[in-house]
Each structure stands twice: as structure tokens, then as C-alpha cells.
Symmetry: C2
Subunit: 530 residues, 2 copies
Amino acid sequence: MSQIGDYKGLIKIYDTSLRDGTQGEGVSLSAEDKMKIARRLDEMGFHYIEGGWPGSNPKDMEFFARLRQTPLKNALVTAFGSTCRPGVEAARDENLNRLLESGVRAAAIFGKTWDFHVTKALNTSLEENLRMVRDSVAYLKQQGLTVFFDGEHFFDGFKANPDYALSVLRAAVEGGADAVVLCDTNGGTLPHELQSVVARVKQELPGVELGIHAHNDGEMAVANTIVAVQAGVTQVQGTVNGLGERCGNANLCSILPNLTLKLGYETIPRENFAFLTELSRFVYEVANLNPVNNQPFVGESAFAHKGGIHVSALLKEPGTYEHMPPEWVGNTRRVLMSELSGLSNLLYKYKELHLDKSSPEGRRVLEQLKNMEHRGYQFEAAEGSLEIMLRKAVNGYREPFQLESMRLILEMREDRPIQSEAVIKLRVGEEVVHTAAEGNGPVNALDNALRKALETVYPEVPGLRLLDYKVRVLEEKAGTEAQVRVLIETGNGKKTWGTVGVSTNIIEASWQALADGMAYGLLKDENNKA
Amino acid sequence: MSQIGDYKGLIKIYDTSLRDGTQGEGVSLSAEDKMKIARRLDEMGFHYIEGGWPGSNPKDMEFFARLRQTPLKNALVTAFGSTCRPGVEAARDENLNRLLESGVRAAAIFGKTWDFHVTKALNTSLEENLRMVRDSVAYLKQQGLTVFFDGEHFFDGFKANPDYALSVLRAAVEGGADAVVLCDTNGGTLPHELQSVVARVKQELPGVELGIHAHNDGEMAVANTIVAVQAGVTQVQGTVNGLGERCGNANLCSILPNLTLKLGYETIPRENFAFLTELSRFVYEVANLNPVNNQPFVGESAFAHKGGIHVSALLKEPGTYEHMPPEWVGNTRRVLMSELSGLSNLLYKYKELHLDKSSPEGRRVLEQLKNMEHRGYQFEAAEGSLEIMLRKAVNGYREPFQLESMRLILEMREDRPIQSEAVIKLRVGEEVVHTAAEGNGPVNALDNALRKALETVYPEVPGLRLLDYKVRVLEEKAGTEAQVRVLIETGNGKKTWGTVGVSTNIIEASWQALADGMAYGLLKDENNKA
């Protein structure tokens, strides 16, 4: 079991999701996206938020301008930049002056600590690099900024030439840096190496505040960060969900619970840990990325149990197969259906649905579930379809409408946008409804036609909203003949539910999920009335 | 830079992808899938392959039966099971006898080492549990098997009651276990804790071969495994890509290069590391999962560079921003297009395409790319669409066909399967071709009609095959009106290429990607003729 330790001093959390995070493949944030994320990080109690690199692109400039209009409450926003260029006086360096123009009160500037990079990438002398670091930090300090120095490639630089790497850090301290950040830029350092280097730096630079900036190329970013803190570092840089270039930056969603809930360091306020899962999903959503299901602490699967033995033990005592209670990080326990699960998982589900768990239907339903999963159905995110299926199997439930026929027509001509039209014929109770609708795409046309048909009988239909639509191609190597799974999220303003459809035809799969979503919505309403 | 160390002794690799890996959410493997993966692991030189849990489900039984017919070349296949039940003699225990029936020469059996689990989950006495462990191991040894004992929850058990946890391991050793495996079943142990516990076990059980089985709930599974090896463990359990329950098992794709290429331990033959990326993708494909792009070492993005400064340095010297050469693990360097990239990345791409990099078109094309990316296009996996776009912009290239009109009709009735028909009118050179085709779904009908139309003019069309079709819904919260991105992979038997389409209408997006895929295929052919 994990433990909550005693107070061990404050570790300051420096988020670089908005800068280094956007270097990740497929990550792109607008100025508005950045504002949304910054506000959320501020509410969570992050100490520093690196907003971007002024001058590197117009979005970052817009973001800093908007921050001047509506400043954050508590977090200190920093701008990122490099030292002055070789042969250029700090006060005349364009990059440094852009940083000042952005209006921030704090900056992180990076400089080279690896001799090979100074001569190979910068094409300058080792001496001139020390001058650039010292003068750049000093210039920003003279302008009243809090200044952090990011020692780029510090661990590789230290391995190659420890004396030079240390002398670069000393130059930053001489310039007045408020903290010196040790960067594992290429992300390949292993914990035992990192530990001994940090210990050496602590010894060589007594009294200097140190930071750690780790990358995940060796799958060590979180471990390296924890090891660095245990060796005396007090500023931790990372990103939400570990977004970042190549294999990503150190993942703050894992670092925070490890540091505070397991090791007892103070980081963000303890009461905010219950919003950590929400923060993770929020950032994925704003960045328009699919959440990583098996992500530690905050992933959908992080506390999901599939093995029959585990579930049977969990029914007795949750601590048996969980390293911490999911509520501590705002996550929830889930029990998955699968052919491995035996009956324990299904019984757990029955309990949730208040169905009779000892009925002979139990085994028959499990067979049917296995069979559907084999064909590509997944009920793990489709509790709506699962409940409808269970009700049909157990209670003889009948859906509130039946499809008689459906026709979709799509037309495209070189000179105009594509047109989508759906014609639909349903039996709704005693009536037959025959109607048609257009839409922005085939599934939207189908959704519109279905609503139009149902509204004539069910006045609550306009209150049901389609919130999310996901498509997954199964057995992808079969090309366009592959099985397609559609997941739909529907809501009524109070609650949301998932439904699923599977077919080789995306329209048929979409129809199944749409129909289940609507049927479940009408079912809920029945319950409310009852 | 990373280093290849001296020989440090052999660490045996124990893969449990086929057993613990299938506990992962969304992971399901048929007996044939398991055979394919087992053969590949055998070729790679893995020492032990855990095939399943005989009797827990029919697929595992079928797999072991097939293995008896066509055995592996080198790897030792093991079956997984538990100790005998409380109050049951080992020789009469159903589970242990099923294990023997499976015909394997080696077994891994797990037992409880955490006192809380013995009394809470097993409902038996601490003494009886020791008897069960000792007798179960001894019984399997008497039948001539190699036997590994998995100490479930060992690290949590050790924290709660170190003497009891150690006494369980001793019982396994007394029974004759060939190795004792320390399992971090709940995955919450931190490296410093794990290190001290392993050191203590080494001291208490001198001469006993130890293994490590880590889970990733604290994002520490790889780090914990490396630390355990450094503390004297010589058997490493894990899964390909870290598949497994909740947050997954220790990821062998990261452990192997860290152990061998960085730390110099012998594991699988060094010449096989060049197939590690292929192994990772193969397992994702067989398990029908989307690869994790930013996965260390083997992910698509693991050596992908986006930042302009990084790319400009890489052009000078690859070692500047890579922790190891991608070829060492069979991966490749990639340079990504994006608004952050400045011109360096595009120039690198130009170099690949042999286009004039100093032309005034350079900046115009970059603008156009940024604009398209803003609308949701991604060229990172769509080099076919990128090249066609560049050719149009730079060379005034014109596609080999133009769409005049397209109509898709889908019909569904309650009593028959959905019908999909596409009618298409194209200008192909001087001709206008007007034709129609049916298909298994709308995109397949469209693909069939396009091929039928082009075949009349281009005899090479039947050689082009659509290999993969992916759909991603962008801005998912907008429901069915959201932007949809379609990625298509087409091949001609020698080479494959990706193309992309984006629209709010999935059919329009699919058409764009299909048309680019075909146009690029015909272009290649032109090149071959030239």
C-alpha cells in the first residue's frame, strides 16, 4: 500500500506544456487553447507556466498579449528563449529583447553546456559561450525579471566534459540566475547516472536552487525526475500527459502523485489532486488528441480490472489490486467485460444495473457478450448499448422504435460542396413515420432524420444531444472492407452515455450506435417519470 | 551520447505478452495470433515465452495443443498457473494438473507473499499458504518441469511483513524452484524502495536466481526493472510494448535497449536489435491496436524532429539531438512539417524530393502547408499527398484524372443487409468515363468505381492496392458535424505510401485520400518508365 509521508519541503512545479509540449508530433495549440490550459493550470496551483517562445511564431506573441489583458491569479508565467548569439552584446540581442517585449516577469533561457554542441552547432568558442550565458542572464536580471537558466544537454555534456559543463552553470549563477535547470535534452540518461551527476552538482554549487527537465527517450523521464528530487532538486519541469517532442517530456500527471501522495513532498495543494484526471483529459481534449488509455494514475484503464481473479478479490477488498484509491487522483474504478473474466465481472455489472444476478440468464448473456466482443464490439465505453442488450436479454425489453428502411444519398460535383440526404421510415409505437433530412455529412443527415421522425412521438428528443462521435477501423490491413467500430456519446444535459455499433459498413455501424443512444436516452426519461 | 558497455553477464528475458499482456484493456488474441507472436519472439531470441493459463479459457488450451504439433526452435515455453488451493494436496489439485496436461516443460506458478492477501483474499492461514507454495513447486519439479515461483505482491507484502514475505520465497526454494520472481503486482513501488528490497532479498537468499515482474501504475516499470537488474536480478519479465492490465507490464521494447545497448548486459543476440521496431509494430498489428506514436525507441515519433533549431542542428550532425542512432533499434529518423519548424524542416524535405530548395516557391509552399495543417491536414504520415501538393505548387503538375461528379447511394431495410453503390464520372486525359460499382460499405464502393473508371486508361491500376484505411474525428465534441481526417495507405507490391483527406464529410475526406493515393501510384509508375 502507498503511504502519505510527512512534509518534506516544497517542490515547485514548472509546466512547459504550452511550449515544449507543442513540439510533440500532432500537437498544435491556438492562442485561445493556450489561454484555456493556462487558466486551468493556474487553478490547479502550478507554480510556473512557460507560455511560449516570443518571436518564434505569431500564436505565442498573441498569447502573451492576451495574458497582459487578463493575467493569471497565482502562477508566474515565463517566456522561453535562448542566450544572446555569439559575438552579439546581450542588450542588443534581438531574441532577448523580444522576450522583454512579451511583458513577462520571468524567463527561462537555455544555453549550451555540452562542449561538442558549442563548437559543432553554435560554431563558437567555449569561452565565448560562457560570456553569452553570463551576460544574457545578467541583462534579464537587470530588467527586473526572475531568470531560470536551462542547461541544455547537461547530462550528456557532463559525461563528455564535466569541468566545462559545470563552468557553464557557474557562469549562469554569476549572471544572477534564480535557478539552474539540469536538462536531459536527448532523454537518454539512466537513473543511476542522473543521480550521481545531480549529487556532484549539489556539491559543486552549494546553495544554488536546482531544477530538472527530463525527456522520455529511455522511458525514464518520471523516474529520473523523482530521483533528481530525492538528490536535492527543488524545481520540476514537465508537461501534462508528458506531451513533447519525440517520446515526450516528463509527465507531470505521474510525477505529482508520486511526489506528494507517495513520497510526501509538497507540490500543488493536496485538495487539487482530485482534479488531476480531469486536468489530463481536458488537456487532451483541447489539444485534440486521443487520451492514452493505459496512462498511469489518470488513464481510463488505470484502475480498470479485467482478470477474473482480480475482480473477485476486488469485490472483497479494493486495496488488493490497486496501488492507491482512484479517488485520490480523481479517477474511478472500472470493471471490464471480457472472455477472460469468468462470471465475477458480469456479476459486478449486474449489481450496478440492479438485475437479478442469480438468474439463469447470467450465463446466456455472458455467451452473447463474448460472441459480440469476438465480432469487434466493445462495451467498455458503451454502457448504453450494454444496458439495452442486457434489458433485451433479461427483461424482454423492446426499443421505442424499429427501422423499416433507410436510404442515404450523397452527391458531389466538381463545382459545389458535397450534399448529404437521409430518407428514413420507422415504426414508432403504433405509427409509421416516413421522413427525410439533410446534414453536414452522412451520419449527421441520418441523425437529423432520426430525430425528426422521433420528435413527432417523443417530445423529449430535442433535449438529447449527440456529443461525441468516434470511428475506429478494426483489422486495418483489410483496406476499405475492414470492420468499423463507431462509438457515440449522447447526453441529456445531466448525464452522458456511450453506445457502440460494429459493421463492415460505417453507415450501418453509425446507425446502430445512433439508435442505441436515442433508445437509452428515452429509457432514462421513462425511469425519471417512473 | 550512449555507450555500449562491456559484457556484464546474461539477463534472461521472459515474455508474458501472451498471458499478462492479454489482460490489457482492448487486448484479445486468438490462438493463431498467439502462434504468430510466439514464433516471432522465438526468432528474436527471447529465452522464455509464457503462453497462457491452461484451463482459464479454451484459446489457451488450443494454443498449447498447436505448440505441441509445431514446437518453437529455441525459446522455452512456459504455462502460468497458481499454487494448489488451501486444504488440497498438490498432486490432486485440478489447476496444477491442467498445467501438466498442457504438455509444457516449464511453468510459472504464483503464490501469495502478502499476509493481508493470504487471510483476506485466500481465506486461509499463513502456515497453510507456505505449505501450498512448497508442495506445489515440489510436485511440478517431481514431474520434471523447470519451475519459476512468482511471488505475487512481493514488494507490498515485504513492506507489510518482511519476515513473512521472505518465508514464502524460502518455501518456494525449499520446494526446488529454479528461480524466484519478485512481482510488483499493483505497480506502485518506487525505484528507491525496490532497490533496497531486492538488495535485502539477495542477502537473505544467497545463490537463488531472482526475477523481476514490474507493472507500470507509477510509470516506473522500466526504471524499476533496470534498478532490479543492477541490484542482482537475472530474469526479467515483461511484455512487448508494455501491454497488460491497467497501466501495463514492464515494456520489453524499452528494457532491452536500455539493458544491452546502454548498459552492456547480454540479453537477446545483439544482431536482433535491428528488428525491435518491427517486432513492436508486428505485435500491435496482430493485437489490432493502434501503435503508440511517442513510444520510446520504437515509436513512429521516437526519432521525429519538429523544432526548427533541432532540425537545423541535425542537418549538421545527427548526434546533437538523438540519444542513440535510430538504426540500432531498427527505427528511422523523421523530420516533421509544422508551423513551428521554420524553413529548415521543409528544406530537408525538399532534399528528399530533389526539388529546388532556393526557389521562391519555398515560402509560398510553407504558407500553404501551414494553412492546410490549420484545417486539420497532417502530412506526417501522408507523404503521397505532400508530394502531390508540392508537385502542383512547384512544377505545375496536373493529376491524371479529374472528378466531374460522384453519387453514393446506401440502402438499408430491416430484412436485408445494407447495399452500397457508387456512380462516378471522371475526365481521364481526353476521355470522360462514366461508370458505377457496388461495394462492402461506401468507401469500398467508391474505391471500386474509381478503379473501374481508371482501368480503362491505365493498365497498371489493378497492381495498386489499398492496404489500410484510418479515420480520425477531429474536434470530437462537435458530434457528427466534426471534421474528419482519413488516412489511406496504398501499395504497389514494392512500396507503400500514405495519403490524407480532411472534410466535415467522411465521404469527401475519403475521396480526397483515395484520389491522391491513386494519383501518386500512377506518378511512381511514370517515374519508373522515365
